[in-house]
Structure formats: C-alpha cells, structure tokens
Symmetry: C2
C-alpha cells in the first residue's frame, strides 16, 4: 500500500510551464463553475463580449475576435439565439453573411456574466493581495504578448 498523497517530483513542481498549467486548470474550473451558474460556457461569454465591444458582426469576424473556430461558431451562435441573447439576420450588403446582434436580454446577461466572472477571478487570486495581483497580471501579459507578437 502506498501513502495516500504521493509526493510530486521537485523537477516538476518547479517548472514554470507546469505551474502555469496548474493555475490555468484551476482558472478554468472556477470560470466554468461561475458561468455554469447562468447555464452558459466560456465561448458564450467571449461572443457576447465581442459583440458588446465592437457591435454587430458577421460570424467570421466573431471567430477572429474570439479565437473560436469557424466550425464551432455556428453552434455557439445557435445556442445564444435560442436563449434570445442574440439575433441572427442576413446582411443586406453581403448576402453571404449573417449579421449577429446582441439583444437587450443579451446585454443584461453579459452584465450578469461579468459579475460571475469577476467573482471567479477573485477566487482564483484569493491568495494574493491587490498589488500582487496587478504584478502577476502585468508579468503574464508581458509573457503572453511576447509570444502573441507577429513573431
């Protein structure tokens, strides 16, 4: 019989790449939980956020802005439309496109999701004070930007 909690190798515990993955896992768990309280998922929030910030858009543009694959946008928009949070209508200027628009209910839902998400971030960073949170965000942003850059 082995000890209940086996120790994790130091080589692994110290690896930044692994640390970041663990934190990402916790983050995803907390965020999924929070958004799940509203019956929605991460990509729903991404879509609503993109629509709220940049206004009505084609599904292709939404895909580029949120990083959601072209193939998956269809179903996600369907789900939002079924709940009355967005409307899909043909673009009169370019009949290949659907223009997606947030409804009033969608706007209210987004505010609610913002509150839920903000709570999840607080939980995630609960062990850090305000200055430390800002520092972590700043460092992560620099690392992320460095690799997102047009190489």
């Amino acid at each position: 019989m082995e000890r209940a909690q086996d120790r994790i190798p130091q080589r692994l515990r110290a690896l930044p790449s692994r640390l970041v993955n663990q934190v990402a896992l916790s983050a995803n768990r907390l965020v999924d939980q929070a958004l799940g309280a509203a019956g929605l998922r991460r990509y729903h929030y991404s879509l609503l956020a993109a629509l709220a910030e940049f206004g009505p858009a084609s599904q292709a543009a939404l895909g580029r802005r949120t990083g959601i694959d072209r193939s998956d946008i269809v179903a996600a928009v369907n789900e939002l439309a079924e709940r009355g949070l967005v409307e899909r209508s043909p673009d009169p200027d370019d009949r290949r496109r659907n223009v997606i628009t947030v409804t009033a209910a969608g706007g209210r839902q987004l505010e609610e999701l913002d509150r839920l998400l903000s709570g999840a971030q607080d939980e995630l960073l609960a062990s850090l004070n305000v200055a430390e949170r800002e520092q972590l965000i700043s460092l992560l942003t620099r690392v992320a930007d460095h690799h997102a850059a047009p190489h």
Copy 2:
C-alpha cells in the same frame, strides 16, 4: 472584407484566467517542441523524473506522482521500455505489481530532457529578467498551492 488582425475584446484581454491560459498554451507548445527533439512527450518526462527522484515504483504509484491516469500509464511505460529507458519487472513482494526501474540510458535521457526543458522555460520567459521570473514563479506557486491544498 475584414481587417487581417481583428482586435480582441478588452474584457477578454484583461481577464487573468484568460491570460494564464494563453501563457499555458505557449508553454505547452514550447515544451512539446523541445521534448519532441528527443522523440518524447511530456508524460515521458514526468515518469522519468518521478523514477529518478523516488526510485523504482509500481505503475499505480507513478500514476499518483505524475497525475497520469491509471489507464494511460500502461502505454507510456510501454513506450519508455521499448526505447530501453526503463525496465518493467514483476514485484517479488506483491505479484500484482510491476516494478518500474530507470536504466542507465534512461538516466542519460533524463539529463538530456532537463537541458531541453530548461531551454524551453528560457524561451517562455524570454521577456522577463531574472528577478521578474522569480517573482512570477513565486506568485504562480502561491496561487497553485492555494487551490491544490486539501481545501
């Protein structure tokens, strides 16, 4: 036609949970690339590291120490054994178990993987100086530990 690079919503860019995910993605890409140079994967490194630090172990113990699922250990150990990096032999004290042992070649391979991985971490954190790297690691460790704790 849309602009080539669509802007990402500020709500998303600012979210710590999202930042951490982006960084984790870059980390995984770099690490996979580095280990791929030796023809191995992340879980192979985890296994070799666990064996090197805690000595020969059963497959079940390896699973607990590395977080690899019991079902996936079998194949991973097979792959390492085929390459002659570990040996699988029946445990004389408990005949349900296989005892997995690192070979000399496995030890050398681990050192090589350590070098490759260390290079990947450097690439990942290239935009930070040494003090900043330590700070990031310390903050991430605190966040990770806070959520890993036996709640």
